[in-house]
Amino acid sequence: MLIPCPHCGPRDLAEFSYQGDATRVRPDPASTDMKAWYDYVYNRPNPSGPHREYWQHSGGCRAHLVVVRDTLSHEIISVAFAHAGLNTAEGRQ
């Protein structure tokens, strides 16, 4: 697998650490909605097909990336920084 890191360029799978589902949303830190917390910590969509997921380029720039990857073919469909600000030129300044 080859992941095109927006900062470092295309890099081998071995340089990355998988950080799982990128669709989950962490409740507000002060939230006491236990269902929402449970859903965030334990539930996963786990689709067969395109999957939105985090990869950290731990052997490179260490940025977390949001990768859309097909879980049936392992084809990488899109890659962006998880830190939304980094996806624009101004953000990277």
Binding site: L13, Y18, D39, Y42, P45, N46, P47, H74
Partner: protein, 419 residues
Amino acid sequence: MAEYSALSLLKNALSGNKDWKPAWRKPEPKPSYDVIIVGGGGHGLATAYYLAKEHGITNVAVLEKGWLGSGNIGRNTTIVRSNYLLPESIRFYDFSVRLWENLSHELNYNVMFSQRGILNLAHSPAQADEYIRRGNAMCHGGGDGVWLTPEEIARKVPGVDLSASARFPVVGGLLQPRAGTARHDAVAWGYARAADRLGVDIIENCEVTGFLREGDTIIGVTSMRGEIRARKVAIAVAGSTSRVLRLAGIERFPIESHVLQAFVSESIKPYLDCVVTFGGGHLYMSQSDKGGLVFGGDLDGYNSYAQRGNLPLVEEVMGEMVAMFPAVARLRLLRSWGGVMDMSMDGSPIITKGPLPGMYLNCGWCYGGFKATPASGFSFAWTIAKDEPHAINAPFTLSRFERGAVIDEKGVGPTPKLH
């Protein structure tokens, strides 16, 4: 259908092996059943068998998407063991080992369960303490565990690198003598044949495409071979759990599907007489009766339904092989393959009634499903027949995640790839 025995083999050999009958029928699906089991893998077939055998429920269909046993029952590294740490796990898996011990007789099918033992090598005093804790837990839970010194290991497993200069020197090992290996395909075939003989319909090439519902209640399935109704629909599709639950409208569930690779070397003469695991990494190895070294390591570590892994993990596993057994560098890798694992949030399975009315669910086996096959089938059949769990599967609920009552053998928390 005739019993299998040395005598029947001889009789058939004399008549040119022309009179053998199919191991199981290939029936057309009936319009309705008492119980439908979705998934013709080891657990689904075992469940069907125990429903018929233990509970007299024989109006049962097992629906398999492809060929019978095409999932992880035919892709694993065939290890049977109950060397667990937590009491819930020990009780469940030791029950399973006891079923294994009589399984060939019970099924009239030789599943080749060979109790040659499993040895976990420990490489530091801290790791030794962890393993000893586990071994002691096994002994207290009614199982068997023995501590071996490096000298004893040298005698039992020649070839292990016991030198002080090893990167991870061996300080001892936890042996479970009753553990071992079995012939994986034979387990699927044996359960299929035995269930079939009790009247269960095993229907291959019959993918489930949806669920029939009455309100919230599941009352059957739609399939490639039409609608099939049932009072109870049981799901045992590890690897595809999320996919099948999605058909029932459950979009999020505490399971991730991950690919695990397995490997086999060329056949060699008897070389290794037990299962060995390497504590300096994640590796398990045994030798099949055919002579190949069968081994595997960690997950590739990303969600996948592709039954194929990648090169970095292959390199890591071979590195571990050679670190543990420096002589095998000279042997050759014959074949590798991938399976899709149902990784749960605490590394333990879920065997439960629900989550929808009329539905029963058996999933989350991570990569420990093979050894569990008999106990899983036994307790799932019990749950389906009696609408309540058997004592051995009572802790393995779905609600445990919500309640914080997880069964986390590795202590790594809700990160599926680490279990």
